[in-house]
C-alpha cells in the first residue's frame, strides 16, 4: 500500500517536473538567413500593396519576393545586388526610400532649401519689424496707476 502511494507520488512529481522542461530547453533560435531576408525586404516596396514594405506584407507577391531574396542570398549574392535585381525589374518604384538622383533628386533638395529660405525670410522680417519703432506706449490710466501703487504697497 505504502509502496503504491510512493510510486504515485514519484509519478506526480515527475509529471509536474516535466511541465517545467520547456523552461530548461534550449530557446528557439532565429534563422539568420530569415533575418537577412527581412532586413532586405524592409527596403523594398510590395508593389501591389498600398505603401507597404515587402517585409510587412502578407500579399502573395510579397511572399514570392521574400522567397526570391532568400534564393539569391543562398546563391551568394550581396544585398546591393539583390536590390539592383528588383530595381532592374520594377524601377525606382520598388525602393521604399526614393533615390537621391534622377526622379528622386527634388525630394531631397527641396526640404533643406525650403528651411533655409523660410528661415532667411523670417530673419529679414524680424529685423525689419524690430527696426520700425513701435508706437509710443499709452500713458497709464488712473485705474492702472492705482493698481501699481496697491501692488507696490503689498510688496513692502
Amino acid at each position: 500500500m505504502n509502496k503504491t502511494w510512493l510510486r504515485l507520488a514519484v509519478c506526480i512529481c515527475g509529471l509536474l517536473l516535466s511541465f517545467t522542461l520547456p523552461v530548461w530547453a534550449e530557446p528557439v533560435q532565429e534563422d539568420p538567413l530569415d533575418r537577412e531576408v527581412l532586413e532586405i525586404a524592409k527596403d523594398l516596396r510590395c508593389t501591389v500593396c498600398q505603401n507597404q514594405p515587402v517585409a510587412e506584407s502578407n500579399a502573395d507577391l510579397a511572399k514570392d519576393m521574400r522567397q526570391i531574396i532568400r534564393e539569391q542570398l543562398v546563391a551568394g549574392k550581396t544585398r546591393a545586388e539583390i536590390v539592383d535585381y528588383f530595381v532592374a525589374r520594377y524601377g525606382d518604384y520598388v525602393l521604399m526610400k526614393p533615390p537621391t538622383e534622377r526622379a528622386g533628386l527634388l525630394l531631397w533638395i527641396i526640404p533643406p532649401l525650403l528651411l533655409i529660405t523660410l528661415a532667411l525670410l523670417s530673419w529679414v522680417f524680424l529685423r525689419q519689424r524690430s527696426r520700425t519703432s513701435p508706437p509710443p506706449a499709452a500713458a497709464l490710466s488712473k485705474q492702472d496707476q492705482a493698481r501699481v501703487r496697491a501692488a507696490r504697497q503689498q510688496q513692502d
Partner: protein, 669 residues
Amino acid sequence: MFLSGFEFNLVELGHFAAYLAFAVALVMALAPAAAHFFHRPELARVGVNASIAVFVLTTLGGLAMIHAFVTDNFSVQYVATNSNSKLPLFYKVSALWGGHEGSLYLWVWVLTLYTVVVGLHGRKHYPDRLPTILAVQGALMVGFFGLILFLSNPFLRLFPMPPDGRDLNPLLQDPGMVFHPPMLYLGYVGFSVPFAFAMAALITRWKSEYWIAHIRRWALIAWGFLTTGIILGGWWAYYELGWGGYWAWDPVENASFMPWLVGTALVHSITVQERRRMLHAWNIFLVITAFSLSLLGTFLVRSGVLSSVHAFAVDPGRGAYILAFMTVVLTVSFSIFLARGRYQEAEEGMTSMLSRESMFVWNNVVFTVAAACVLLGTLYPLALEALSGDKITVGAPYFNAVMVPIFLAALLLMAVAPLVPWRKANPERLRSRLLVPVALGLTAGVVMLVAAWPLHWTGPVAAALIAFVSGTIFTDYARAVRQRRVQHPGELLPRSLARTLLGNRRHYGGMIVHLGIIAIAIGLTGSGLFRLEKSVVMAPGEVVEIGGERLRFDGVRSFQRDNYFTVQGQFTLLDRGVVVLPERRRYPVQEMPTTESGIHTTIWRDVYVVIADPVGEGNQTKWGVHVYVNPLIQWIWGGGVIALFGLGVTLTSRRRTARDAVAATAAAS
C-alpha cells in the same frame, strides 16, 4: 429580420431630410448676400434658425441611416455593402462611417454640429458678424451636400434586395476604428470654424481684437480633436495591423498630419497676435491653409487618387468634384485674403530679436516647413506619375530622414522659448535660467550615448532635448511656486503648487501639453530606436528569447465567434507567468484574414506577439511567430492623454482671467 413597411422605408425620410438640409444650407449661404442686395437686413437673421434646422435635418438623415444599419435593411445599398446581419451591434452603428458615402455624410454632419454651436454661441457674442460666418459655413455645407446627394449618396436603394450584406471591412471591426474617424473629422471640420471666422473678418473688416479670441479657442478645440484622432489611429494600427508599428507615413496618415502641423503653428502664432498685436495676416493665412489641408486630406483619402493616378483619371467622378470644390474654396478664400488682407494689419512692432514673439516666429518656420515636407512627400509621387509617367515610392525611410531633424529642432525651440519673455529678453537672466536645464540635457545625452552605444545619432540628441525641455518646464514651475511662497508665507506646499498652476492656467495648460508631447517623444525614441524583433518558427512547448524575455508557445486553439473564425495562439511569458493570446481571424463574408496581436504591456516595454502561417502538416505543425519588444511605446498613448488634459486646462482659462481682472481692479480702487 422582418421589417414593417414603415420601418423598411424610414430611410427615405432620412434621404428627404438630407435634401431639405441641402436646401436650407443654400439659404444660409445666400442670406447675407440677399439681405445686402434687396436692402432687407432682417433676411440675414435667418442664419441662426437655418443652422438649427440644417443640424436637425442632417441628424434625422444620420439617424435614419443608423436605423437602417441596426435593422439590417439591406435594401439600402450602402448598408448591404458595409454591414452584415451577424455583425455585432456596436459595429453596425459605426459602420455608418465604414465606407466612402457614410464617411462623407459624417463629415457634413459634424460640420452642421459645429455650425449650430457657432450659431447659438454667436447670437450673444458677435451677432453682427454671425450671418457672414454662418454663410461661409453654409457654403461649405452646400458643397459637401452636393457631393453626397449627387455623387456619393448613402441613401440609395438596391433592387433586388440581397439576402445578407457584404460585411464591414474586418480591419475596421475594432474599437480604435470606431472612434478614430469621428475624432479625426471633428478635428478636420473643426478648422472650418476658424476658417469661417477668418473669412468673415476679411469680408466685413472685423477688427482683430474681436475675433482673435474666438479663432484661438476654436483652433485649439479642432487641434485637440485632431490630436485625439491621430493618436487613436496610431493606436489602432498598432493593435490591429500586426507589424509592431503605429505610424507608417502612409499618405492617408499624412493627410491627417498636415493639418495638424499647420494647426500647431496656428495655435502658437495666434498668441502673438493676441498678446502683441502682430502677425494678423500670417495667422489668417495659416487658418486658410489648415482648412485647405483638411479638404486636401478628404480629397486624398476619398478620391482613390492614392491607389493610382490612372484609376483616378479613368473614373474621376467623386475625386474630380472634391478637387473642383477644393480649388473653388482655395481660389475664393485666397482672393479675399489678397484683396482684404491689408485691413488686418499689425499694430505693433518687434522690440527685440530675442523675445517670445520671435520664438513663436521660429516655431512657425519649423512647423510650416514640416507641413510642406509632408505635403511634398505625399504629392510628389502623384505629380511625377501624372506628369512624366515615372513611378517612385516615397516611404517611411524618406519621411524619417527628413522629419526627425525637424522634430528635433521643434524640441529645441520648446526647451528655450517658454523661458524667453515677451518683448525683450535679458540675455544674462536667460542664460542663468537655461543653466540647469542645459546641464540636465547634456547629462542625459551623454548617459544615453554611453549606455546604449552604438546607436543612431538621433538617440542621444533626442534624449538630451527631452531632458532639456523637461528641465525647462519644471525649473520654470518651481521658480513660480517659490515666488508664490515668498508672497504667501506659511501656505501649505500642495496648495502653493495648485494655486500657481491654476492661477495661470493658460500658461501651465500649455506646459502640460508640452509635457505630453515630451512623453510622446520618449515613446517615439524608445520604440523607434530600440525595437527588437525576431521572426521564428515554433512548435508547441518551444521557447523563444528576446530582450531578456522568455516566451513559451503553448499551442493553438481554433473556434468561431460572432462573424469570424479564429485561430488563437497561446503564449506564456515565463518570467511573469502571463499569457498572451494573438489571433489570426478569418471573416468568411469578405474572405479576409486579419491579425490580432497578443500584447503584454508594462510602462517600460510591450511584448508584442503575432502568429503567422502554419508550417508543415498534422502533428508536426509548427507556426511562424513574430515577436517584437517595443520599449516605452505606451508613453505615446499616455502622452496623448496628458496633452489633451493640458489642453483642457488651457481652455478653462478665459472666464477666470476676465473675472480676476475685474476683482483686481475692484481691490485696487
